[in-house]
């Protein structure tokens, strides 16, 4: 058997999967053929205050984490400290981005196949309320990101040291109102995600996320994993080990020679006890930690509830306390790493800046780039287990697994 899946629908970006059984041996390849935009190439020579906005163009589904990771990397390169208010706003922005991204992924890309629908239009015709719920969740996320960062797609106001424009108390009250209004939709998404029938499959792997010591993973922290990793973000290369394989424009990451999993399931598996109250209750109900990669979808739904509740808490406080802060312009030479949790998992940006503030070196490792090795390993295990099934069934399972990871090949190739 030799199967080439060259046109995979309902995923972000362009990827192919090839699997083959030869002499009783299974071979699986995740081939990402998204065009190589070479961001690290053209970011060299740019000014330090341009990279946040420019690198957010890596992804239109999750631009904000790129924006913040780049800003944080430049701050670390120049030794700039940010205020507690800035960190709160950034955590709020990340919560808003998660609502936008998970809302889109779950309803538009992932759920249709479990509802026996061909796509989002089909779902809409049969169950308009489900699509309207998705749009309400996304809209709340849009409002949060617009208010915190100036625009729903490709944020504009993040600058090294803070924000070029600080939202007003009235705007924070609007965020509170929007998030309150959408919380029930997030809970209902959990109910829906929990009611779908996922393939019966488990494979325990290494789950990795960041830890700031206090919060559920979002903004900044140490690299931690289910296998006992506890390392500073600056050591990220040791825990990603990116290599190029000629069949894919996305490089592959491994840890101790094997794949690892970043994203919603990793965060919920590792930090269930830091979820907001309602989200924690739901995570208990769905029996996390889970080793079924398809449960990444339920984990995303649980996170919708968490980020809505956490966002609500931050915005409520800021609606009383937020104040203008002047950002001092600092330009110093140095190298810095920025790390945040994007909707799809841990995201690293690293820049070396010269004394004039010009970027000389750039390196970006996205969540999906970290996941592709684990995707291949899971596909291998899933296909091995189901080899007796007909070809169409194997293709269906393969696509479903890939979607469950919520890959972003625009990001992973960049």
């Amino acid at each position: 058997m030799n199967v080439e899946m060259n046109y995979i629908t309902q995923i972000e970006g362009h990827g192919k999967i090839h699997f083959e059984v030869k002499d009783g041996k299974l071979d699986v390849r995740m081939e990402v053929h998204e065009g190589a935009r070479l961001f690290e190439n053209f970011l060299r020579g740019r000014r330090y205050d341009e990279v946040a906005a420019m690198s957010s163009r890596i992804c239109g589904v999750c631009p904000l984490p790129h924006n913040y990771a780049a800003t944080q990397a430049i701050e670390n390169a120049m030794g700039i400290q940010v205020s507690e208010q800035t960190k709160m706003l950034r955590r709020l922005g990340i919560a808003g981005q998660a609502l936008q991204s998970h809302g889109l992924h779950l309803y538009v890309l992932a759920f249709p196949e479990y509802l026996n629908a061909d796509g989002i239009v089909d779902v809409y015709m049969r169950n308009p309320e489900a699509v309207k719920r998705a749009l309400r969740i996304r809209n709340a996320g849009n409002v949060v990101v617009e208010i915190v960062s100036g625009r729903a797609v490709h944020p504009v106001s993040s600058i090294p040291g803070g924000f070029a424009r600080i939202p007003t108390k009235t705007e924070m009250k609007r965020v509170v109102k929007e998030l309150k209004a959408v919380l029930n939709d997030c809970i209902e998404t959990c109910t829906l995600a929990g009611s779908l029938k996922y393939p019966d499959f488990e494979r325990k792997t290494e789950y990795s996320a960041i830890d700031d010591g206090v919060h559920f993973p979002a903004y900044d922290g140490m690299i931690v994993s289910s296998e006992g990793v506890r390392a500073k973000a600056e050591e990220y290369r040791k825990y990603t080990n990116e290599v190029y394989r000629p069949y894919s424009n996305t490089k592959f990451s491994t840890r101790n020679g094997h794949g690892f999993f970043v994203g919603a399931i990793a965060r919920v598996n590792l930090f269930k006890d830091r979820l907001s109250p309602k989200a924690r209750e739901l995570a208990e109900q769905f029996k996390f930690p889970s080793y079924n990669p398809f449960y990444n979808l339920i984990a995303q739904a649980v996170e919708l509830v968490h980020y809505a509740e956490e966002g609500l808490e931050i915005a409520t406080e800021l609606s009383k306390t937020i104040k203008d802060e002047k950002v001092e312009k600092v330009v110093r030479a140095g190298t810095g790493v920025g790390v945040v949790e994007a909707p799809r998992g841990t995201l690293f940006h690293e820049y070396t800046v010269d004394a004039n503030g010009i970027v000389r070196e750039a390196n970006i490792i996205t969540p999906t780039a970290q996941n592709v090795q684990n995707i291949e390993e899971d596909l291998y295990a899933l296909l091995s287990k189901n080899m007796n099934k007909p070809r169409e069934e194997l293709v269906r399972l393969t696509e479903a697994l890939l979607r469950a990871y919520d890959p972003c090949f625009s990001c992973s190739t960049h």
Partner: protein, 252 residues
């Protein structure tokens, strides 16, 4: 009446313009009012037949994509370039100003030289484009207007309003007057000026006006910015557009 047949293709890009379509106020009417015959991001079954309107999002950066857009043109009554990647080559077009082979080695190592990356051109230089929806990303309002115009058989007209008009209507104070280099006076407006409204300069993402006053703009910029910074300002999301290329394509 049969529903208009619409196709939505994404080339190499971030898919942020498709995300803005989902954000449209009238997305429910779009879902009800047209038939998506090709929409990879949104459905499993996609067909190649004659499209009334084909939206093309993204930059043409591989040889495969050159062939793809030619095929789309042959199948389509109207082709809409969706976003500044399609309209002007977008951010991937910045590789045109670098040594791409060195860039591939920098990102991928020596073996990466084989990766297919061609010089990026605006879509309109490869196939005929009927309508441009500009911006990085597009605005939902522009999308709504273009769709309603096309569905009525009307080709939307381009206007001649710079971003400055958006700033005026927002009540923003002028960044240029504060000595901050801004591309607003020569950039195609209608975006609502999200950047200046956040105290950040316009970086020209919607490309140049039909007849931008480039020399007046450059004269002004020279008073507050280095030549390198002026080049960088126009070397962003529409760097391969006419007028901007003459500045942004220049030596730093």
């Amino acid at each position: 009446m049969a529903k208009p047949k619409v196709a939505l293709f994404d080339l190499t890009d971030c898919e942020g313009c498709e995300v803005e379509i989902v954000n449209s106020k009238y997305i429910d009417r779009v879902l009800e009012g047209v038939e998506f015959v090709h929409f990879r991001l949104g459905q499993r079954t996609n067909r190649w037949e004659n499209f009334d309107v084909a939206f093309i999002e993204g930059s043409v950066i591989t040889n495969h994509e050159v062939e793809l857009v030619k095929a789309i043109r042959e199948h389509s009554k109207y082709v809409v370039a969706l976003g500044s990647c399609a309209c002007f080559g977008g951010i991937a077009g910045l590789n045109n100003f670098t040594d791409v082979n060195e860039g591939k080695r920098y990102v991928y190592g020596k073996e990466g030289e084989k990766i297919d990356v061609i010089p990026v051109k605006p879509l309109g230089e490869i196939i005929k484009v009927d309508v441009m929806i500009r911006g990085c990303p597009i605005t939902r309002d522009d999308f709504d207007k273009v769709v309603s115009d096309l569905l009525m058989g009307k080709i939307p007209r381009e206007h001649t309003r710079p971003v400055c008009m958006d700033c005026k209507s927002k009540g923003n104070s002028c960044l240029l007057l504060k000595g901050i280099p801004c591309a607003g006076p020569v950039t195609y407006g209608g975006c609502g000026a999200p950047c200046p409204s956040s105290n950040m300069p316009c970086d020209g993402c919607r490309g140049p006006l039909e007849t931008p006053e480039m020399s007046a703009e450059l004269e002004l910029l020279k008073k507050m910015a280095s030549q390198d910074d002026i080049v960088r300002l126009f070397r962003k999301y529409a760097a391969n557009a006419q007028f901007f290329k003459e500045v942004g394509g220049g030596k730093q």
